[in-house]
Amino acid sequence: MEAALRAAAGTMSDDKISQAEKDEAAYFAERAKAAAARAAEASAVTGTPPTLFDVQEMELNFGPQHPSTHGVLRIVLKVDGEKILEAKPDVGYLHRGTEKLFETETYPMGVPHTDRMDYVAAATNNHAYCLTIEKLLAVEVPRRAQLIRVILDELQRLSSHLVWLGTSGIDLGAVTPFWYAFREREQILDFFEEYCGARLTLNCMRIGGLPFDLTPGWTERVAEFVDDLPARIDEYEQLLTDNRIWKKRTVGIGVISGEECIEWGLTGPVIRASGVEWDLRRAQPYECYEELDFVVPTRQNGDTYDRYIVRVQEMRQSVRIVRQCLERLEPGEIRGKVPRVIKPVAEEVYASVESPKGELGFYCVSNGSNKPYRMHVRPPSFINLQALPRLAKGHLVSDLVALIGTIDIVLGEVDR
């Protein structure tokens, strides 16, 4: 900068100054002039000369290349020192036009596109998409397929929450839980790999059912894993739940009330941590969730710590659900009666599932052809991200990373 300023003052010979440096000098000179003008204006308004203690805003580009934005998110911050005056999320860096892509391909070809939205929870995306088309076709999914879908969903919820736990721990400087969480996630990905061959972009559901039946021994291995998991969750909790530094960094950070959550349209663990018992698995049961015995964990304070507790308890509930489904599994069909060529009647349907991040819904407009006329996605990450400016205001830059972590966004889903 000094070189640039010197260049601006003309003390350096011209041949040593590159064009870039000249541009830069001009830029800084302009900035300095603007700042002086602002200061003069401010002192003219208040009638007092500017002092050292005036608020000095700085604009900080938090991302898109930043280790804690969980993808490519850019947040334009206005900060006074480290205090956040304003935070504006700038999305779209990962936009691939998925909704438009659905229109160009037949109904069954849409499933793999959903994998690429929330890429840490592909199974629930597949599920929401298939559920929508099944609703459009009025197809009944066989019981065995329903149970396996729920098992896959809950394993996916576990793995998604494990990713969240690990990364939000790293955001606050706790590195070790990350490795523990990914150790278990690795096992879950192994189960997926064994089932459908993929670990991340699963493409593990089909309209009307499932592509494959379970491989021999899969259920036993999953049962063993879920029996083991509660002890592992205790391990993470041991490092964080009662940790005084962890509590200091999360209690009272980003408080949002239940009413506000409803007004913003927030869903998932965020709304449940604010005392609203809203879980689509309970509120609008799909597949076989109705008959399963599980609790929807809620907390009252609506801060980062409560969202942490809610997610950890959800993991324990997922373990219960998987266990119950495994007990109920019986041999049977895995695909319902779906026509070979899917040409639904002209209709508009909306169906949604409780994804790990919240309500994930698909709104499909059919015009009677073999391709959707319009497909709209209700992405929980995108809608939950709206609350970030509201949550971050008045907190410090350090808290911002905790807040990005706590609303648990995946940019693939935010931008689609």
């Binding site: 580009n61 480290e82 490795w179 523990y180 490092l239 530094i245 200091k248 830059v397």
Partner: protein, 348 residues
Amino acid sequence: MTLVDGAIVVLRVVVPALILPALVIPLVWVERRVAAFIQDRPGPNRVGPFGLLQSPADIIKLFTKEDVVPAATDKFLFLLAPSLAVFAALSTFAVVPYGPTIRVAGKVIPMVGADVSVGLLYVFAITSLSVYAIVLAGWSSNDKFSLLGGIRSSAQIISYELAMTTAAAGVVLAAGSFRLTDIVAMQEGTFRLLPVVPRWNFFPQVIGFIVFFVSAFAETNRLPFDLPEAEAELVAGYHTEYSAMRFGSYFLAEYINVIVASAMTATLYFGGWSLPGFHPEGWLGGLLGLLIFAAKTAFFVLVFIWVRWTLPRFRYDQLMRLGWKTLLPLSLANLLWVALLAIWRTSR
């Protein structure tokens, strides 16, 4: 002064200054392996036996990388800051006694770089200098994240240094001297009233030790106080714009600081090279003393690593609150307690 005397001075002054940075290589390996052990994974185990050559490989990599200096930096300060960090880290060790004073062939050899009468003051003066390395790096980088790192660093230093110095004042009061060799000598042997307990400052001044050790984490910028760096928040904090070995020298400085802080803790509160019943004779005694000192230092280095991989990070206003509202009163209480002890001891 004969040639032999000169050689001895070179040995006791220059060699530690060379060994210290060399020790960083195994220390980085230890840190990685211990971290891996804590995190239930193997850690580096491919390059050389047990992965021992991983750190040398990394250092070669750092040396051969391109040293990028961004255009809009203040070049002079930008280039100066990393060397300041290493300078401050290395020169602190000069006054720390790493072994007993031995007599070999009629020559008295004190195993310390420089036995300064104001040793402890020197240590604090030099470690305070290390904050300049961070503030200057943050400022000269002309990067907002670096700048925030630099600001945090200066906020951090005023919050913990006072408590740290006040805690160490208790040790000075007990020893009646700023000279580190005196402080070690005073901790030799056992307590008169409890002959099984070593006369380490740790026992009467446990509060002072806690304050000192907690502050040492802030001093070395290690988790839970690695705020100026805070990679999740400030990208890489003050060294965001650095590359190649200039970036590496901050790491070098950090690890040397960890060794020095551990050595200081061992010296001030755990009797340095001394051990009850250990009376060093000749060069063998000197070597034994050095080993005892190394063992005590290594213990605290391991504690540093262990804590880093266990705790989350403080926020910087929380660190300031901790420093001013908890550590400072505690260190003052410790000072009062040591003063009372001193009065009681002299009145008997």
